[in-house]
Symmetry: C2
């Protein structure tokens, strides 16, 4: 909210970053994330300025960091900082007249030209005495001595300056600035959340499918939390950190959908878990066939023991059998004929779902949802995957997430929003820690270059993308028709380009048959229990399990990959060979830089040979670099221009770690 | 200044425009300018929203305008408004649940599908009754009648809806909305200044050159305001509206520069007018050789009588002989040896100039400059061309312009800022009504397409560019080596692409000889008096005078050209053939649309044939268009794809007015 008449400071600071909508919302970061702080600042005339970041941690400690000029013609000053504490960081930019550097620059130029030599020594003396007034202890003494030294006789001015610089005058002066004409920016906030808010490897399964048994007569016995507990080992072995479960609540019976979204369910069809609620209960209840609350708690504990967090679905809608329909009919829309409105997108009808009407009783609905979320939080659930948040009011989410995070700042909300950009971005600003994104539909090299740059460099302050390779609703034509190479390519890109990536069960088995005419799997797991032979799959070499396991291992061993904002795309001469790198400086990685370069053939139907042209500066490299391929173990020496051959039918990618 | 935690409204409005830095500064407009107002707004789910602009004029009258969806996938809603009053316009965006349009859409779809037909009539009845409650008089009655009609028996629902729509139900309902869930944006301001702040044709001459006489022995008698008054006819004949004069104050004698910026002036050298001040006076004084204050007043009056405004130079620096040096030595920088610092860019020295040190006595200097500006305002000067504003503090300008405009809002300040983008933009935000820009260095087609789009569509809310073709400091290599066609091309582009364009005397005579190694004219008028034979020039066909006259006439007759924001660039197959158009809708031009299309060969050394591909929608045209070339009078029938042949040696451009 502007004041329409902002007073410009003595040293203008026209922009600071990170900043969202002029400071209307805090910028997002996660613990361990490296953030670029900066400002556009400049002054009149030729004199130099200094620009500093005053950064205050959640614990209240303030550090002052001198920024360096990143793009001189653009007057942009930046630094990169790893945020190591969860909570609100605040920062302010300070810009001031850098009298010492101005004097030094002018003096060096004039000595070179033989102009004003003694006068510049006098100017230096006067300046250093002023710096000394502000300084203390040894520095005060040293500045006073240097002041006298500059105007001492016996040597030439050039010799005096040379001696002073050799003895560390510049460090001393920079350490004791007078900060003339100091101008401060507005304060801004960076909300630093826990790592999984922005970075992690996610997996999904339906508990009812895990351990489900198909009898010889074809009848299926549902899995449950006890049988699903056994599947945790598989999830853990692949290296996933979060396991997301579709709704685990009682499923409605009225208008229950049959297989493939048909309108009539047979007596043994389990229905869609998103048609929530029946006489057994609603959103606060566990589906009886999955087990008891105790079973669920045990399941959560078993997962946590393996280092896996459970993410729960939050789907704010009801089946016609949900207890709310009787207890709180005002939470739904009453039609003119007195009936309750079911979901529809005219002329399509979804009679198994009653949408909640948030405008009828906003406070009542808010209180009930908060109660439900808090109940599951008390069960150890700290992550919620929110179903279709873009069909509920944005202001509801802003209020809910703020209240939940006020008490439990570690709770993470993932927006399952596949919709238009304005809404997706607004949900991020409203507080969603992360969101599904357009990644499934960005498959060609050009699309990926554009989209990855947008995600990393344009929207990262308010929109954290989760790069899911599939969902039960999304089986893109790329996967339908790309064969096994397509699955390998997509998993490789998601795991290395995304700070967060995710995969739904079945992807590792190359499940790629679509419902005719649709962009989703046939016999979708949404409407039926899947019986998969995981034991056979784990033994087989013909699954994606080894690749997924390797990808998550590479992520863990290369923390540069667990960031998003550090992505840099490079050039190749081939329209399908995508190249990007991620670099983490030594100072942000315990003293050892980590740099990974990914080169991948995005065409699953081809063998491609081309030349890759690297922006070596983005790798903090010059000349030759030694690289190790983390897929094959091969070692190469690369330079600015490199030949590659990528055969999608065998291995479509290099994942190269820069060794030196 | 954000609040770090903005509460998102029920119907999110995530952006409004025009808006500068989140509302930190008002957006700029000029009287008669057509401004696009808009917002990004959207809601959850499928229901429709309405978005309105509430626009309040400086006189306090508020109009409510329904916006239309400009880019559906981007949720952008816009309208174009011609601002007809000078002063602060304020606006706010309102977004609400459009229950009528949602009902109508759903009903039409359901009737088509044969679903819920009578139910939708009941829903309609219920809605129209609610609209009727809010309505008055005839509308109330009509809405009530329509409500009853929808549920009347005897005809089918489809027939009932058809009848209601045919009788104007939609207009009636749109006119009487209930505005459920109404959400308001923050208020924003548009500062609408007088036309010349943003649109006009400018000329420059040195009064001392106008009417100057060279005797047979080579000695020169200076022109003065009386002789320069005679030159006003020439300026008027070419169609210029503003005449800018370099400084008219006494010129310093100490270290006076000689011809071509040499360090030693001869006794008859007049010196640079920018070395202001001698014993005769300073910035508040007229150079004695130019005349008296009465002469200057007469000159201003004579110009005004011809419809020409005088723009004065405001160059805040002093010669060593300026009265300030004695009266207010604290306004300059004292060096360590007690001397006053002259201007320098080490190792270069400008000993004829003492820069003002604004930090030594900010209020004293402010008061003095305000006094000087107000003195000349009282002489009838309402436009100041500010010399090198980027070498003075930005906050000084913000304060000065605000105070001058508080009392005299018609005063216009032009920034002569050729510097980096951040500073140029900051000066615009600080209040400068317009600025010189990078136009002289944008000569190739690609450069011009990019730059014109930036000026018109990215920075127009805070930065108003003046497209000057030259200055005494700027004779680009394009003009040096492009011959007469280059001059014709540049004037044509400046006059038709710029809302404001300008030209320095001598351009129309193709003065193109550079000082060796420099990008400026040899024998620069800054350091010597120019004696030009204007009578001969006016008689000659071999000058640019007829072209300039024609260009200014075309501008006056085609108000679309006097706008900047309406520029649209089109495609041609040739890398040097630039195509752009400007369109003014009938509603913004007294009932008759004005559309002009410019096609120009930007290569002064060639004859080019190519195909021009038009975005006909941008011309509000379809299929064939009849066009008249305003240069040659030729008439053509054009369409989407058009052959052109442009011979830079004869005529490099078409300026086509779309007739129908």
């Amino acid at each position: 909210m502007g004041n329409e008449n902002k007073v410009i400071g003595r040293i203008p600071i026209s922009r600071v970053w990170p900043e969202v909508d002029g400071g209307d919302f805090p910028a997002k970061a996660f613990q361990g994330e490296v953030i670029t702080f900066g400002a556009t600042s400049f002054r009149e005339g030729h004199d130099l300025i200094a620009v500093e970041l005053h950064l205050t941690s959640p614990k209240g400690e303030t550090q002052v960091i001198r920024l360096s000029e990143a793009s001189p013609g653009l007057d942009q000053w930046t630094t990169k900082i790893l945020l190591d504490q969860v909570g609100n960081w605040s920062f302010q930019i300070s810009a001031w007249d850098d009298e010492y550097q101005t004097w030094l620059h002018n003096t060096e130029v004039k000595l070179q030209a033989g102009v004003d030599e003694e006068l510049m020594m006098l100017e230096g003396e006067r300046l250093l005495k002023r710096l000394a007034e502000n300084a203390k202890g040894k520095d005060k003494k040293a500045l006073t001595d240097f002041a006298a030294h500059l105007t001492a006789t016996g040597t030439t001015p050039a010799e005096r300056l040379h001696v002073a610089l050799a003895k560390g005058l510049s460090d001393l002066a920079d350490r004791n600035p007078v900060r003339s004409l100091e101008t401060l920016s507005d304060k801004r906030t960076v909300l630093c959340e826990r790592r999984l808010a922005g970075s992690g490897a996610w997996y999904e399964f339906f508990p009812r499918s895990e351990g489900a048994i198909r009898a010889k007569d074809g009848t299926i016995t549902s899995g449950n939390f006890k049988t699903a507990t056994k599947s945790l080992a598989r999830v853990n072995q692949m290296g996933f950190e979060v396991l997301y479960l579709p709704p685990i609540h009682p499923v409605g019976t009225s208008h229950r959908k049959g297989p493939n979204n048909t309108l009539v369910a047979g007596p043994s069809d389990p229905g869609s878990p998103w048609a929530i609620g029946n006489t057994a209960g609603g959103h606060d209840t566990i589906h009886p066939e999955l087990g008891t609350e105790a079973d669920f708690k045990s399941f959560v504990k078993a997962a946590n023991k393996l280092g896996i967090e459970i993410a729960m679905d939050l789907a704010l809608q009801a089946s016609p059998d949900h207890p709310w329909v009787k207890s709180n009919p005002q939470w739904f829309t009453q039609r003119a004929d007195g009936s309750i409105a079911y979901a529809e997108n005219p002329p399509k009808k979804y009679q198994d779902i009653y949408p909640v009407n948030f405008d009828n009783d906003p406070q009542g609905i808010f209180d009930e949802v908060l109660r439900i979320v808090n109940k599951w939080v008390s069960f150890g659930v700290k992550i919620f995957r929110v179903d279709n948040p873009h069909t509920k009011p944005v202001d509801f989410w802003q209020k809910l997430i703020a209240e939940v995070n006020r008490v439990n700042p570690e709770v993470v909300f993932l927006a399952e929003a596949f919709t238009r950009p304005a809404m997706m971005h607004a949900l991020g600003k409203a507080g969603f820690q992360q969101s599904y994104c357009y990644f499934p539909w960005r498959n060609r090299k050009d699309e990926l270059v554009e989209y990855l740059n947008e995600l990393a460099h344009q929207s990262a302050d308010f929109f954290r993308p989760a790069l899911w390779v599939n969902t039960p609703d999304i089986l893109t034509s790329y996967l339908q028709f790309g064969g096994k190479p397509a699955f390998k390519i997509r998993a490789t890109i998601a795991a290395t380009a995304g700070a967060t990536w995710g995969m739904y069960a079945g992807f590792e088995l190359y499940e790629s048959v679509a419902r005719p005419g649709a962009e989703e799997n046939i016999d979708s797991e949404k409407f039926e229990i899947k019986v998969r032979d995981w034991d056979a799959a784990l033994k087989s070499q013909d699954t994606l399990i080894p690749r997924v396991t390797l990808l998550n291992k590479i992520r863990k061993e290369n923390p540069a990959l667990e960031q998003l904002r550090n992505i840099v795309t490079h050039y190749s001469d081939d329209p399908e060979v995508l190249v990007y790198s991620k670099h983490l400086a030594a100072e942000h990685n315990g003293g050892k830089a980590n740099t990974v370069l990914v080169v991948i053939n995005t065409d699953p139907h081809s063998v491609r040979e081309t030349t890759v042209h690297l922006n070596l500066a983005a790798l903090s490299a010059k000349g030759e670099i030694k690289v190790t391929d983390l897929i094959t173990g091969q070692k190469f020496v690369w330079g600015e221009h490199n030949y590659v051959r990528l055969d999608s039918f065998t291995e479509p990618a290099h994942i190269l770690r820069v060794e030196s």
